[in-house]
């Protein structure tokens, strides 16, 4: 659906997007992740034909974004970050106008408008001025506009930015629902959001793609060991020394407390220490009140990648290249 090759965008002296390449297959929901200013919006603006790349190419549904811009524009729905829509129009009037621009035939227009109004749940505000809407409804109006012509590809730039938790949930549900029907590329810096909605993640940092894969595989790939957290009552140094002898334990450290001590155990990825460790501790007559695995979250990965100063990819390209096929299949079956 999307094919980006060596895409570069330079503004006055700054390279906002630096030779990125990626593919998006039909049916995928791809989360575009990165800090503010990483190049997410710039890439999306090139895909939506707002401006052309400095070099490289972007193709949507086989059409080049520069030479066949009209064809590309007909096939996508795009919602920019600030949701720039006319404040002085009414919701229904605006949707009708945009449907006309999007080339929805006259006869189907009112049907198309009614359909998006019910899918996006805009019934209550259909006759309201857009300028008087709450941020959540405004965002939804933007979404409704983006899908009114049933595009094959939906590009959403920070669709939940600035919403309250309730509204975020609503918009996320709408997006998830839309993902069943179209290919979706959405950007965000709210990590829980991509974990919940995306089948694949593109992590972009300083204009480069530094990770590419399903949320699970990315986190798994970046993790060399499994970490467990345990709170034990007993002679801490001795406990540590003896736990180290358990099969599979790579490293152990502890933080002594007054009575209870916090231990961090690391094992090789193949071993789940929990059962063995619990038994071992209890058998030795010590007390155990907590034992859990500390899973690396997407957030940890995100922070780890984006806080390093080197632009070199943290996740090995080999790990990054493999996953794309499987999420595509998942996306198709769900």
């Amino acid at each position: 659906m999307i094919e980006v090759t060596d895409l570069v965008k330079r503004y006055a002296g700054i390279t906002a997007v630096d030779r990125i390449s990626f593919k998006v297959e039909p049916g995928e929901i791809v989360g575009f992740l990165g800090k503010n200013g990483a190049g997410k919006s710039t890439t999306m603006k090139m895909l939506s034909c707002f401006f052309p790349p400095t070099s490289g190419s972007a193709r949507v549904a086989g059409f080049d974004c520069v030479t066949d811009s009209m064809e590309v524009r007909r096939r996508i729905g795009y919602m920019p970050e600030r949701v720039p829509i006319y404040d002085d129009m009414r919701v229904e009037e605006y949707l009708n106008y945009r449907a006309q621009l999007r080339g929805v035939p006259r006869r189907e227009r009112s049907h198309a408008v009614n359909e998006v109004i019910s899918t996006i749940a805009l019934k209550d505000v259909r006759r309201k001025l857009i300028g008087s809407l709450s941020k959540g409804y405004r965002q939804r109006t933007g979404l409704a506009e983006a899908i009114i012509h049933k595009p094959g590809l939906l590009i959403l730039d920070e669709p939940t930015a600035g919403l309250d938790p309730g509204q975020i949930r609503q918009v996320r549900d709408v997006i998830k629902d839309l993902g069943k029907r179209t290919t979706l590329l959405l950007s965000t810096h709210i990590l829980s959001e991509v974990e919940l909605t995306a089948t694949r993640i593109l992590l972009i940092h300083r204009g480069r793609i530094v990770a590419n894969g399903s949320p699970g595989s990315l986190v798994g790939g970046a993790q060399k060991t499994r970490r467990f957290h345990a709170e034990i009552r007993g002679p801490a140094p001795m406990v540590a020394a003896m736990l180290k002898g358990l099969p599979g334990v790579v490293d152990i450290s502890f933080e002594a407390g007054e009575e209870w001590h916090a231990f961090t155990l690391e094992s090789d990825p193949a071993t789940d220490l929990r059962a063995d460790a619990a038994k071992f501790i209890v058998d030795n007559g010590w007390d155990l009140r907590e034992l859990r695995e500390e899973k690396m979250t997407l957030e940890d990965l995100f922070v780890r990648i984006t806080t390093t100063d080197e632009a070199a990819p943290m996740v090995k390209p080999s790990a990054a290249a493999a996953p794309p096929e499987s999420p595509a299949a998942e996306g198709a079956t769900s």
């Binding site: 939506s48 707002f50 524009r73 795009y78 920019p80 720039p84 002085d88 006309q100 621009l101």
Partner: protein, 246 residues
Amino acid sequence: MTNLPALTKREFTANFYSPMAYVISTFYLLFAGLSFYVLLRDQRDANAMRSLLTFFGFIHTIFIPMVTMRLISEERKSGTLEMLVTAPVSDTEIAISKFLGATLFIALMVAPTILYSWVLQRIGGRPDYGMIKASYIGLMLLSMAYVAIGLFISSLTANQIVSAILTFVVLFTLFFLMGFLTSAVDTLPFGKTIPWADVLSYVYFGVHLQSFGKGLVDSRDVVYFLSIVVLGIFATIKSLESRRWR
């Protein structure tokens, strides 16, 4: 050009979404009515309408920038331009629809003044309808040229006030300063001439307005105004396209 009707309709109606349109047209009609009244006190002949319409050419240099200032500046500022140019709509359609939307609004604003000729007839002024028709055609062509210039300037900035002031300055220069220079050509002492005087007088709006006032629709003048319109729209298209190479 299939999107032109939809776009033009939006551009035209957008004028009425804000109170601006009502304020502008109210003041315009107030101003026009007052000028007509003053004019009638010492001139009730066939020439009254002609003088009035020439005077309108002047007040349009103030009113038209107020109409054209929002055309593109507003969309740039609010970001809606991004939505407009990423829709399957060509830059040419955008520029033309904005031009038409503003021109239609101005035509609507001027329309009530047609009643003045009826008033003139009622008070025994014996208006010359041919002359009046030609004058209106001239006034509209002049206004279209103004709109095209205003449209282009509006495409350069995201600030509506800057857009309005700059448009006013340009229109004022073209209408007055050049008029002053052209008339000064004849009065320079010692037979000196201003260089480029003939070019200057060709570019001057007033010269092209004169024959309309006499009841003549000269194709040269029509071409002159229409070429400014085409130039203005073309420059606007280029300015919209500039996002592609900036």
